[in-house]
């Protein structure tokens, strides 16, 4: 049975929202279990004392990456039916910079803030409200930033295409990079110890 199941109409479209909900429960549960409901833990990677963000994020990305490639290899999923987010170079970079600032100032990202708000963190709730305000601001300013938003559209291009290597080889390099980061991170954690929050 070839995935992705709903786009291939193996199971009905009506299941989609149920699956979204179930995926969300898993997402929220794991995030909270890992400690992403604490802004101090999240910010920790930038100061060396807690690299949980790095470890979880990159392990998840690599697991997902390998999972997709292996599924494709076994014929369990048709990769061309999987959404690849399109690259608009300038908005990706500048948006990322603004988000990075938001991250170090607020100590959350949207997913983690909702998760933290769910367990009662008031600062997370304020963050979520902030997100809404920021989005509203963007909507209002849209006509002005439109040209930046739409600039440099490269299509739904994959990094492996840019480097001219196969997806598997790219995945391998990403794994190496991630592992290196893990080893460095653990050294940093030993150097900057802190108490668990």
């Amino acid at each position: 049975m070839m995935g992705p199941l709903i786009p291939q109409e193996v199971i009905g479209e009506g299941w989609n929202f149920f699956i979204a909900f179930a995926v969300g429960i898993g997402f929220g549960f794991v995030l909270e279990q890992a400690g992403f409901s604490s802004s101090r833990k999240l910010a920790g990677v930038f100061y060396g004392y807690d690299a949980v963000v790095l470890k979880v994020f990159f392990t998840a990305a690599v697991t997902g990456m390998l999972g997709l490639l292996y599924f494709s290899l076994f014929g369990w999923i048709d990769l061309s039916m999987v959404w690849v987010n399109p690259t608009y170079l300038w908005s990706a970079i500048i948006g990322g910079i603004i988000m990075g600032a938001g991250f170090i100032i607020g100590g959350f990202c949207p997913g983690t803030s909702v998760c933290a708000a769910a367990i009662g963190k008031i600062d997370a709730m304020v963050f979520v409200v902030g997100i809404a305000v920021g989005i509203f601001g963007f909507g209002e300013l849209y006509p002005m930033i439109k040209s930046l938003y739409l600039a440099e559209y490269l299509g739904q291009v994959k990094l492996s295409t840019i480097f001219g290597i196969s997806q598997g080889v790219l995945a391998f390099f990403v794994i190496i990079a991630a592992l290196l980061m893990f080893w460095i991170a653990e050294i940093a954690e030993k150097k900057f110890p802190r108490e668990e929050y």
Binding site: F27, V30, A92, I94
Partner: protein, 169 residues
């Protein structure tokens, strides 16, 4: 009180499997900012529907028969709330509080959270996704945008960390 968190590598693998199942079933990855966007769009439409249909940005999501709340991400976010809550409940971490470094006040923390949120909200729209949607999901499918966004977010945060260190350590 020391609290017990899951081993980060294990959590990462589990998160990766959640991501993989999203791809396998729905053909798409995770996301977060999009759900808040749907709520904002709905709110704007309810309160000032003319403005919504005139605006270039909102009109994409409003109009006859289109309910922005009826989106994959909104349902996913509802799940995140439930999942987070359950995990917190099992671990005994449910508590209404403002978490902040002992070096700053609660109010300052709230203000910083607000500012951070605004920046993230704006940036996520410009960047077409946040860490979960663009960076994490994007990297799993090897998209260029995913890597670029991820590097921009983490790079900037690292670069600015020095200036905000008093708020955290």
């Amino acid at each position: 009180m020391k609290t017990k968190y899951m081993n980060p590598y294990l959590a990462g693998v589990l998160l990766g499997l959640v991501l993989l199942s999203a791809f396998y079933f729905s053909g798409r990855g995770l996301g977060a900012s999009g759900a808040v966007k749907s709520i904002v769009v709905t709110a704007v439409e309810t309160v000032a529907s003319d403005h919504a249909s005139n605006s270039e940005y909102y009109s994409k999501y409003t109009g006859e028969g289109k309910n922005p709340l009826n989106s994959w991400l909104v349902y996913e976010m509802l799940g995140v709330i439930v999942g987070g809550f359950l995990s917190g409940a099992f671990a005994g971490r449910l508590k209404l509080k403002v978490e902040h470094s002992p070096k700053i006040t609660s109010n300052k923390r709230l203000m910083l959270a607000g500012i951070g949120g605004i920046l993230f909200g704006f940036g996520s729209q410009l960047g077409r996704g946040c860490t979960s949607g663009s960076a994490l999901t994007g990297m799993a499918v090897l998209s260029l945008a995913g890597f670029v966004t991820m590097m921009a977010i983490f790079g900037t945060a690292f670069a600015l960390a020095f200036f905000f260190r008093k708020n955290w350590i």
